[in-house]
Symmetry: C2
Subunit: 259 residues, 2 copies
């Protein structure tokens, strides 16, 4: 029987970190370490596990006790770089869904190390598929939709202050295809927690063709499931001897051609 993959969760008791801990607890091929990395002391319940939240001054000790574990990081923008440096020093491969920080420094921290990592700002598999395919088309068919008009509406929870990163990313990709945004991105904010909707509409210059791409995500489960896929992928790669490699979710979900 294969040993379960040991997972340490950083960022407890945050929403994403807690949800990931619960999914790890429920996964038959994983073992949740009952010490989690946190900004504040406390406990997080995750299925059959009770995770003790350990504060920064004990991080090294926790990591040292579990040399084989993979760390999942859903913390805060300002923790991104120092967390990565720590994982590299203690030799822990990690999956990082946390946004912000100095991304270039983050990548070079991993590239120069003995540790590999999956780093992405969007862990949701269907959204990664969509973005990757539009990105491919934007290179393959540069300007093919010249003159097309693009409209974008996005809807997120009320406490989201900035424009959706997904909306901005697709705006750029469609723009390379030739479809330019008319007006501004329309942002709707409402009280429902943890949802994300996007409507992208492309119209031909003469109005006879309309293409719509819409995404609706309720809650965060899709991101947690993507994170578990990333953990399995990273574990596999580490078993195969991967060091110093930075993977994205696109790598995680790419069909293994070499198999």
């Amino acid at each position: 029987m294969t040993e379960p993959i040991e997972v340490i969760v950083a960022g407890l008791p945050g929403n994403m970190a807690t949800l990931v801990a619960r999914q790890v607890a429920a996964a038959p091929d994983m073992k949740l370490i009952e010490l989690g990395l946190s900004k504040r002391a406390g406990i997080t319940r995750a299925g059959k596990y009770t995770v003790l939240q350990v504060m920064r001054r004990y991080y090294r000790e926790v990591l040292g006790k579990h040399p084989e574990a993979i760390v999942v990081d859903f913390t805060a923008p300002k923790a991104v770089n120092r967390n990565a440096q720590l994982y590299v020093r203690t030799g822990h491969p990690f999956v990082m869904g946390t946004t912000g920080g100095d991304r270039e420094a983050l990548i070079s921290t991993v590239r120069g190390s003995n540790v590999s990592a999956v780093i992405d700002v969007n862990m949701g598999v269907p959204l990664v598929v969509l973005k990757a395919m539009v990105e491919w088309a934007s290179k393959q068919f540069l300007g093919a939709l010249n003159g097309y008009r693009l409209s974008i509406t996005e809807d997120h929870q009320a406490n989201k202050l900035d424009t959706s990163g997904t909306a901005l990313a697709f705006k750029d990709l469609f723009s390379r295809l030739g479809a330019k945004l008319t007006g501004k991105i329309k942002s709707i904010r409402d009280l429902e927690e943890g949802h994300g909707y996007h409507w992208f509409t492309l119209r031909s210059p003469d109005g006879t063709v309309v293409i719509e791409l819409n995404t609706k995500v309720e809650g965060r489960l899709v991101y947690a499931l993507g994170t578990l896929a990333a953990i399995r992928f990273l574990h596999q790669r580490v078993q195969e001897g991967s060091v110093g490699e930075v993977f994205t979710m696109t790598d995680v979900i790419s069909a293994r051609k070499e198999a």
Copy 2:
């Protein structure tokens, strides 16, 4: 000044052939030959041109008078193979949007010849972009959306008897991604002429993620414009010495990497 591209239209007075003739007539870089290939005698008016419809027994003569012309073929399934054989014998590169016939024989007719051709069942640029990108994803991310449920609705004019080929093609592509059709493709038929709508909806197993891809095409202009892009592409390739090559619309709209 560059010489205009000479274009002979086959399939007059069919809807697509007539529309293409009109667009060629209006294109400053093209010259419509005033003899068109047809099943029956007659005339077709296309902008400043009056095209005389010439029947099969005179095809060779017409083609012989215009050795530099590109032929555009929107005829009938049963004419596909013998038309291609004729164009090859008379040395005319051709753009064929006609469906049906023996497609393998069609391709080998061109491959063994001194003539290159653009052959595709869908000449609409935005639809080619969408299909190509989903096709790419279906290979790159084989099974990434395992467990997702797919629903498809398509809407075409009342006299369309079979299920939309676009709907069937996308069903297969999404299926390779892991999303299986639940139930059947829903086909709506109504009286409006020359429209094609498709709604593809993907739902995650837990229902928290919904992805929609919708296409709405009114009329045939988008296909005629794609045909003109194919003529320009083929002309360029022939100038560069292309012989015996079969191109698709995906080739036509691919950004020229070598440029």
